[in-house]
Assembly symmetry: none
Homo-oligomer: 216 residues x 2
DNA sequence: GCGTCCCTCCGCCGATCGGGGGAGGAGATG
DNA sequence: CATCTCCTCCCCCGATCGGCGGAGGGACGC
């Protein structure tokens, strides 16, 4: 086996000059890394990646003309066989979730030490996934929220029934009469429905319920 | 053929005590009717219907805990082979249309005479359908309106846009601010939307629009 | 028994809604 | 030019809504 088969080809895109230098040094110090190119421009990065077909791409999330996320999306969209590691200034943004959804292999904060970065590259090259701990927290919260909000079998029978009547255009008092319960009770149920659907009022509740298939 | 094969098994649900008595007398006076049970509670009615499998069910439209319409819906949903006759206090409500859509076999006003009720039961047992004349008028109006309304090419761009915002839970004034138009204008548009969709208010408009695929 | 969920009910308040009118201008289409 | 649709705006008014509290009882599982 030639040497090139045991090393990982890496492409780097980073627009902060000083940080770029540091990364170059870090990557250069690793024997298993074969740096095939770098740039500070997003579009150029995407072009080079298509040409050079590196096994691993390290992307700053904020690049001129084309962000790291967009490049990641392009890579996945075109089905390139290529690991992607994202470096982010703030590990807590919405971007984290998007990146993970796009199948990112690594997501590190720029606060990471040189060893953390170097080890992450190795780990990713071996097929692993590396997320900064803060990223993991953000993800955990996201997932928790999604589960809390979306996985709800949601409405109780009564709530469901009242939501139906609301969707039929019935007013609160009218529903109370029809179900032979107090108007206050109807109100309570509707409020609970709003809370469960994460919505502020009737019309939005109907829209959300229909999107979730709770009504028809 | 044994006698039981020539008689119709009937279950009765009615929550007004005096009216219940009258109905029991009426049904008892008919030889072709075999009353298999009765109750004044909606949920109990539905349970008993599932157990006893009567050939005909007579339901007050307003029952505690589960309305006649809901029972009718449940019967149709479960595919029970069972005629349903609804007794309604006011024959002119929205409920009429729902009942007919659910395939009700009879819909009488409580103003009906004992003979009318008894004859209706017989007619339904024979496979016929009996609707109070007032009910027929209501239906005729409904159908006329539906045709007039549904044939419409639907919403103008502005109306569509405002309906979207309504479905997002925005209030009238909020929409006005967002679109930088007068609150009165928003109101006019919403009113036009209601008219075009044949609906009385916001929540119902959203429901109808989603059914028609105007929103998502 | 204790916690949790569901269903029931109450009051207060300001904001919003929907019905009922009417009106004018812009643009297309005949 | 007449007509139509669309968009814009105005009045009044009672009914309803939604947010904010709180409360109690019944059912079910642990």
């Amino acid at each position: 086996m030639p040497v090139s088969d045991t090393r990982t080809t890496v492409y780097l895109a980073e627009d902060h000059p000083l940080y770029l230098e540091s990364l170059l040094r870090i990557l250069g110090s690793r024997e298993e890394v074969e740096l095939v190119g770098w740039t500070s421009d997003g579009i150029r990065a995407w072009q080079q990646i298509q040409e050079l077909r590196p096994q691993l791409v390290v992307l700053d999330i904020q690049l001129p003309r084309m962000t790291g996320l967009e490049i990641l999306k392009a890579i996945r969209h075109d089905g390139l066989d290529c690991k992607v590691m994202i470096l982010s200034g703030d590990a807590a943004g919405d971007q984290v979730f998007d990146a993970v959804r796009l199948g990112v292999n690594g997501y590190l904060s720029k606060d990471a030490t040189r060893d953390e970065i170097a080890d992450a590259v190795s780990e990713i090259a071996r097929g692993g996934t590396v997320l900064a701990s803060l990223v993991q927290q953000v993800l955990a919260n996201e997932v928790r929220d999604r589960v809390a909000v979306e996985a709800r079998p949601s409405l109780s029978p009564r709530e469901h029934q009242i939501l139906r009547l609301i969707a039929d255009g019935k007013s609160g008092p009218a529903i109370a009469r029809e179900l032979q319960i107090g108007a206050a009770t109807v109100k309570t149920h509707t409020q609970n429905v709003y809370a469960k659907l994460g919505v502020p009022e009737r019309a939005a509740a109907v829209a959300e319920a229909m999107r979730r298939g709770l009504l028809d």
